[in-house]
């Protein structure tokens, strides 16, 4: 347990944000010890919950003044341990910074506080015929601030691209509390250095986003959603390759394997995937109505020629939603199968998917583990989810060893160690698989520009000496 905050510091924080929003009792801090990756437990020294830009800046200034490290935290759905507090850090949470400040349908932009949940933004934009495109599976819960930090992707990012394409401006509170505005309404994204692009994806290690300006898109006029049922994941992956080879550009292509199908079908989000299938492939086309049917038919043919035993089409919005719910809640549904879950995240060249999946299956067998695969197949972004029970020490060790082999395998075939969940604390050990010392030094230099004292989200991403938790 880390030492408590100095009483004067605590008092000043309380004066700034109110007694209820400064949490210092060890018992209450327990709930902040993990994020979506519950294998790690690092309780923070304190949690402060500001409500406004000024409060957030003030909190950072006070903590910086006392040399206390800080970690921003959104909804804590991150899957790499990014929102955990290392080295006696204080969490600055955005749960109360959850207002949509402005929505400009004419210019298709919105300005919001970082704690707004992804889906809430789209809900607010929908009456204007607009939506926010990046759709991480966690979108009902995760915050825009977290999305910015992780440069989050989602099933539809195959066609629309990830978060960074949709962030047009940021107000940052730097480690010392200084407020800096970058990008934003009226600025030309092409002129000068793309500072916004630099910060998006920095995993909360540079600064805290206290206001975010996002671009919105018009809602697609029409959608077609297909479900292909295959005997094996490899067949489904071949269908994906065939669809791309056809020159089609689906909005999303997602594969769900048998272990995952069974978990989903046992959950409240049962989507009607056949539980005896080796894999299911969801393909979605969107855009103007004309032409979508033709695209869907061609994709159907690709699936059949890759060996699909059946291709279904969602007949209405309800069926489409059910198909997607099943995919988006797949990770949570795994909780039914085993008490603990390690969600892995890696990217491989799409054409290598069948080979990689086969080899992951072999690794699972060798370590006697159950691995469920769900992935953004169109992007080659894999999520092998390893099921285990943390009370079983031997199994925990096998999980660790298998994860390492999977990462090495992905790098070996020309891929990388994360697709969208970030490095956080969990993947630091793999950084050297993909980067040489020069690159890592360059990253460290960039961070130092924002955070010269190294007080901002320490112990993440860069493979320093092991941090003490």
């Amino acid at each position: 347990m880390t030492e408590p905050l100095a009483p004067t510091l605590e008092r000043r924080l309380v004066e700034l944000v109110g007694r209820d929003h400064v949490i210092t009792e060890a018992d209450r801090l327990l709930v902040y010890e993990s994020d979506g990756l519950s294998a790690y437990r690092w309780p923070p020294r304190a949690v402060v919950l500001p409500a406004t830009t000024e409060e957030a800046a003030g909190v950072l200034r006070l903590l910086h003044g006392e040399g206390v490290p800080v970690v921003p935290r959104g909804a804590g759905t991150g899957l790499s341990g990014g929102a955990l507090a290392a080295e006696g850090a204080v969490i600055v949470g955005t749960a109360r910074m959850n207002r949509i400040l402005a929505l400009d349908p004419e210019n298709r932009v919105a300005r919001l506080q970082p704690g707004v949940q992804n889906t809430r933004l789209t809900d607010a934009a929908r009456p204007y015929g607009l939506y926010y495109a990046p759709d991480p599976s966690s979108q009902t819960a995760c915050t825009i601030g977290g999305n910015v930090a992780e440069n989050s992707g989602g099933p539809h990012c195959l066609k629309y691209g990830v978060t960074t394409r949709y962030i047009s401006g940021l107000t940052l509170a730097l480690a010392d509390g200084e407020l800096v505005k970058i990008g934003g309404a009226g600025t030309d994204p092409e002129a000068g250095y793309d500072l916004v692009g630099l910060v998006v994806g920095s995993e909360g290690c540079f600064a805290m986003a206290v206001e975010v300006e996002v671009r919105l898109l018009p809602l697609p006029e029409a959608v077609r959603t297909l479900l292909g049922i295959f005997a094996s994941v490899a067949d489904a992956a071949r269908a994906v390759t065939a669809i791309i080879r056809e020159g089609l550009l689906p909005a999303a292509m997602e594969i769900i394997d048998q272990n995952t199908i069974r978990a989903v079908e046992a959950s409240v989000y049962a989507a009607g995937y056949p539980t005896d299938a080796g894999a299911a492939l969801v393909v979605e086309f969107d855009g103007t109505d004309a032409g979508l049917d033709a695209d869907a038919r061609r994709a159907e043919a690709c699936c059949l020629s890759a060996g699909a035993r059946e291709v279904r089409r969602a007949r209405n919005a309800g069926e489409r939603l059910a198909l997607w719910q099943g995919r988006k809640k797949a990770f949570g549904a795994m909780g039914r199968v085993a008490p603990d879950l390690l969600v892995q995240d890696a990217t491989v060249p799409r054409t290598k998917l069948p080979e990689v999946l086969e080899r992951i299956g072999e690794i699972a067998k060798r370590y006697d583990l159950t691995i469920g695969n769900v992935f953004h197949a169109g992007d080659g972004n894999l999520h092998p989810n390893v099921l285990f029970d943390r009370r079983n020490t031997d199994e925990r060790e096998r999980v660790e060893a298998a994860s390492k082999e999977i990462m090495a395998l992905c790098v070996e075939v020309g891929g990388t160690i994360t697709g969208e969940h970030g490095v956080g604390v969990d993947k630091r050990k793999y950084m050297k698989l993909v980067y040489g010392p020069d690159e890592i030094d360059a990253m460290r230099d960039v961070k130092a520009v924002f955070d010269p004292r190294g007080l901002f989200n320490p112990g993440k991403v860069l493979p320093d000496a092991e941090v003490s938790a």
């Binding site: 327990l30 994020d35 919950l49 804590g76 809430r120 009902t140 819960a141 809640k329 909780g335 008490p339």
Partner: protein, 487 residues
Amino acid sequence: MALEQHPVGALEQALEAQHERLMPCVHCGFCLPACPTYNRLGDEADSPRGRLHLMRAVVDGRLSAASEAFRRHIDRCLGCRACEPVCPSGVEYGTLLELARDVAGRSRPPVLSTRLMLAVFSSRLWRGLFFLGGRLLRSTGLAALGTRLLPSGGLLGSARLGLAMVAATGPWRASRRWTEGQDGTTSHAGAVGSASADPDRAQKPPPPSRATPVVADRHRSTDRIRVGLLTGCVQEGLYARVNAATRRVLEANGYDVVEVRGQECCGALHAHGGDLEEARRLARANVASFEAAAVDLVAVNAAGCGAAMKEYGTWLSNDTVDDMAERAAALARKTRDVSELLSESGPRRGAPLRGVVAYDHPCHLLHAQRLEQPPLSVLAAVPELEVRVVEGASECCGGAGIYGLTHPDLGGRIGGDKVRSVLAASADVVATPNPGCMMQIGAGLRLAGADLGVVHPVELLDESYRRAGYYAGGPSGSRGPRPSGGI
């Protein structure tokens, strides 16, 4: 998985026995935005995931069940179970909460107001006196007076809220517009539920000769389904008119409603309040009473009671005496919300009511029993009635037993938000099928100075049937007005 009936002093083991139930929480956080307390406080310890994390810490021996943190955050939970339907892992939060409250309560007794209320609800005598007092306060106008005169803060503020809740239980007076008959003439009805002479004191069902209204032909057969109505304590004490309306409406839809003697409080308040032992005692009594009445089904018109009765199998799963576990499970399987029974039978359409009703979902119907459409289909059986589902209807009204009294600030904020969205619906009347919610929303409206009545949906259907002449008695009723679309 069974709820252990554990000895005092073995608190942690009790939760430990729930390991299987806690383990499926994968910490994904999907439940956070569904939680009214997290949405308002922003502290993860007041989120479902946070509360589960605290429970798990108790199980793991890292946190004491007697700790301030455990009690405070478990206490602050509304028990609305909005976190359950969104959980992809199917964590049974409601059951875990009951157990956590039981565990917390054994290590440190709950606050006085909770203990007092549970004591009152445990005894028929006390219950009777309590509700008699309530009815007296209501009929003498003292409740309404106190609501106007008392200050809003402190102890007197709690008294004011309590009185407003009592005052809000009075029958709803329909406005002129509603009372216009089909042809524009004014009917004699002034108040919904006025079909029986003194609706709020109707302690017994009307005698069978009167209670059997004219029913549609297809229900004339001899194999009518026998249902026993759970009369409920608050419902029978302050909303006897809702029970009366329920009986009439069920009969009109072809059910035989029989009296169930010896029935008790359902035990929901005790289970939520941290006294599972007493909840089980009440449940056993109900199992015996409803068995003795040889009913096919149990009808419940209070969402909270229905949700509890559907859990009887879980509550008593370890009770091997007299096969209680199986008997409780059997009774739970027979339990239906009144809206389920009505929507299974159609429901039969009545005469038009011209007005706008704002509908709000009780948590224990929507989240705990997962019933979204059936209550709406009850309202849809009233021709020309315009139904507006309240914005944010899936969120708790803040009633949650006596939450408003134990947590005045937070309860007040949650209740205030609900009142605002109810008012935004610009309706003539509010309908919600749970007495706690009826009182909470009714009190909130009163305190906000709004003159808007709150009814149970079956009351509107009942009024619609009454106007249609279904209760006229004797065969003449069948010649009464038959609105289009009748079954």
